[in-house]
Homo-oligomer: 198 residues x 2
């Protein structure tokens, strides 16, 4: 691993992507508060000023990383939602996908929803959240067309489902996430049948 490029070239191959990868590693290892640009530069083997060439600042780098997280989660949920089946199995696949992502990338998921109330938050992140809700919305409207999902504003339904999935991961630490992954059928049935007695 070392001998292949003993003295790194002056121009890093793709410093931008390398920095994002290092940032994701550092996030998982040390948490978001301990992450520093200078440390990322050291990990990537460049000077501390080099990241400034590729990102406007620390916020920009973290926002970009969060955006890649939304893209990956959206892809995963889109695949789960596209699977054929009744509403229960599709909702369960959606829930398993979300909790699975939380298990695989806990710190990244936290970053994705963090710094919500900072004025500098870019519109791109808000749009990414909207796309996620849309991914959940598609199976909802399809179910309504088939008559397997109750009528009502599909936006409200999709938002509630997405919020529940995200809220579950917020309430769980690493251990309880693993338990939750197993107990998801009960949660899904609760969402499907409701809290009132039938």
């Amino acid at each position: 691993m070392l001998g292949a490029m003993a003295h790194r070239p002056y121009h890093h191959g793709d410093l931008r992507a390398a920095l994002l990868g290092c940032a994701e590693d550092a996030l998982a290892e040390q948490g978001p508060d301990a992450l520093s640009l200078r440390d990322l530069a050291r990990r990537a083997g460049v000077s501390h000023a080099a990241p400034g060439r590729h990102f406007r600042g620390k916020d920009h780098l973290l926002d970009t990383l969060a955006l890649t997280g939304f893209e990956r989660l959206d892809t995963r949920l889109g695949e789960a939602a596209a699977e054929p089946g009744d509403p229960r199995s599709r909702l369960l696949a959606l829930a398993r996908g979300y909790v699975g992502f939380a298990l695989d990338h806990p710190a990244l998921l936290e970053l994705m929803y963090a710094r919500k109330h900072t004025p500098s938050r870019p519109e791109e992140l808000t749009a990414a959240v909207g796309r996620l809700v849309e991914t959940v919305l598609r199976p909802v409207t399809e179910g309504q067309d088939e008559g397997t999902i109750a009528p009502g504003d599909p936006g409200t339904i999709a938002l509630t489902v997405a919020a529940t999935l995200h809220g579950l991961t917020s309430y769980a630490d690493a251990d309880s996430l693993r338990e939750l992954q197993e107990d998801l059928p009960a949660v899904v049935d609760l969402l499907l049948s409701g809290l009132l007695p039938r």
Copy 2:
């Protein structure tokens, strides 16, 4: 306001509480990343080393602030859950209380659930989350005793309700929180009746 204590005494009256208050202000004004201990000390009118007397470090101060947030939210939800009425009105009161807290203290609520995946997270915060779920759990078991809430593991039901409420605030920015507050009846009815057609 100034004349009353033109030159502040050497011993601050209650620096610990003052720092927590300043921290909450700074959090709301600048967001969590911009918050610095030295700035808090300046706001409180003490030297930059003074906070070290009352908090083990920045994390300790923020964790303490988050804990006060959980206590206030728990009190608010406890009052909402204790109101008499049918399950729908009580769940609506609970939801209004949660979203109202998010409207009043958006940055504080974010802090409360942040840094979930750092090893240093104190057990006290995990316990506070547990108490919150317990506050939601009480009306659930009462409703089950009356037969107005469907049978099933009350812990799962309470966790799902709490997760949904929290997730909703995670998906909403300041503007959509205000809209959400008005649309809560639809969300509550969805939780009560479920996603399946009746």
